[in-house]
Symmetry: C2
Subunit: 287 residues, 2 copies
């Protein structure tokens, strides 16, 4: 927790927000700001400081991979109910670093072609390469969330998927992809207020989708589906984190802290030159 020690964290968010044994989603208060002793103003300042650290670590991560195809990558998996703030995380946390080192993928309703393959087919294609920070805005978890709630697949297929996901993620982490799984947790009231704002403002209409209200009416079923996801797929190598997200400033600074923690654990190093530096200096000087 080096990166966050000068911040307003009183406890390590990676530990505090982690889904472990006996976790109950219903015990998490969406309007809480666990482990953070500051307010919105402090969080903005911390986010800026963190952005510089994030940017430097990203560059090292990328540099390290230039000489090593097996170098680590990072994959942030973002799941949430509509309007919980996934887009804001991408914009304000991920957007702080070089776009050249980011691989962002928003998973929409599967296409015909995607449906004709196993559910992990389209996911595998978007796994970040060595040195990249991948971001999944929605993910393979949709296939056990809306897939379950809307009964888009038979129960035995949904069951199969939990184990398939665990195996898949184990393979990725064995291959050097550090997976950071985040559910942004808002309350139904907060969602209502955010959707209403989208309806109130002409410059927000494009963000509103009538289907959001349909999904909203299935809130308890979604929370149950998330609870099952956590029980079945929060593993040692790829644990879930539930981030209270009614306060956007908290969610952003918390997700940033989770990413900084992952990057510091990787501790990427500038790679040694793969050429003779003195010889190249002489060659360049002669031109």
């Amino acid at each position: 927790m080096t990166a966050t020690s000068q911040h307003h964290w009183s406890a390590d968010p990676s530990t505090l927000l982690r889904v472990g044994e006996g976790f109950r989603l219903s015990d998490v208060a969406p309007d809480a700001t666990p482990g953070y002793d500051g307010d919105k103003k402090h969080a903005h300042a911390d986010l800026e400081t963190g952005a510089e650290q994030f940017d430097e670590l990203q560059e090292r991560l990328f540099a390290q991979s230039r000489e090593d195809d097996d170098a680590p990558a990072v994959l942030l998996v973002l799941q949430a109910m509509d309007s919980a703030g996934k887009g804001g995380i991408v914009r304000h946390v991920i957007g702080a670093t070089d776009p050249q080192g980011v691989h962002l993928k928003a998973f929409k309703k599967p296409t015909e072609e995607e449906l004709a393959h196993d559910f992990l087919w389209r996911i595998e294609r978007e796994v970040p390469k060595a040195g990249y920070i991948g971001v999944f805005d929605r993910s393979h978890y949709e296939d056990v969330l809306i897939g379950r709630v809307r009964e888009l697949a038979p129960p035995e297929e949904i069951e199969r998927r939990y184990d398939a996901i665990v195996d898949f993620e184990k393979r990725l982490t064995d291959a050097g992809v550090r997976i950071v799984k985040v559910m942004l947790h808002i309350s139904p009231d907060e969602q209502k207020a955010r959707l209403m704002e989208r309806l109130d403002r002409a410059d927000k209409h494009w963000k509103y989708n009538p289907g959001d209200v349909d999904e909203r009416q299935l809130w308890p079923a979604y929370m149950e589906a998330y609870q099952t996801v956590f029980e079945r797929t929060s593993t040692e190598n790829a644990p879930w984190h539930v981030v209270p997200a009614n306060a956007k400033w908290y969610a952003r600074v918390a997700v940033q802290a989770l990413l900084l923690d992952a990057l510091e654990e990787i501790d990427p190093q500038w790679p040694a030159a793969s050429f003779d530096v003195a010889a190249e200096k002489a060659r360049l000087a002669a031109t």
Copy 2:
């Protein structure tokens, strides 16, 4: 030139830097800062102001496309000799907006699969969708630059490509893609200094490639190849701009101005709601 009028531009960079009739690359001074009356400090401030405008226009461009598959897109094509600052443009100009609306593609040496297709095959696949800002870090122009200088294809094939590019770009602009083509122009001495810095600093070694010195030794041939590119492919609908780039701050503020100009010409509008706003408010309120 609305966006740049409160800045330090004394002339419209879109006009000033545009490659027109009788253009000679050899007449462009790489260390000049044409049309800009400020210094580095002013440029930093202008870049920040411009970043806000860029960010807002990008959001409108993206929003507009949500209800219209035929909505415009923007494509920035970046070409330059090594170390001219393409990466800095992506980081500091493009990086100022939401990564969710950017489609960035760095074209490397073609793969076996790419070589087995026409040279535009891999390019076509990366054309930005409606609403996106696409960025090509290198592009199809490599096939008439290094392709010509290194004789990677016979002369008649290189000849064919100029016309193919003009037709291809015409098709894109007809389909609503606003193309902004930029060559960042540095001097050989400036390149030497930048490459030497990469050799001097251990945290920059990863950016150095011995092949850069080989290409550098072909400088005059590359300048000739660029001159021919400008003569053959700077068209009304997709003109080239040559941006002096010895001063990084100038190149960044100039490319930003070119993008702002393109976006203002598009003048993207918030789309009208595709649903009944009052009915949705009532439906949401009832949940």
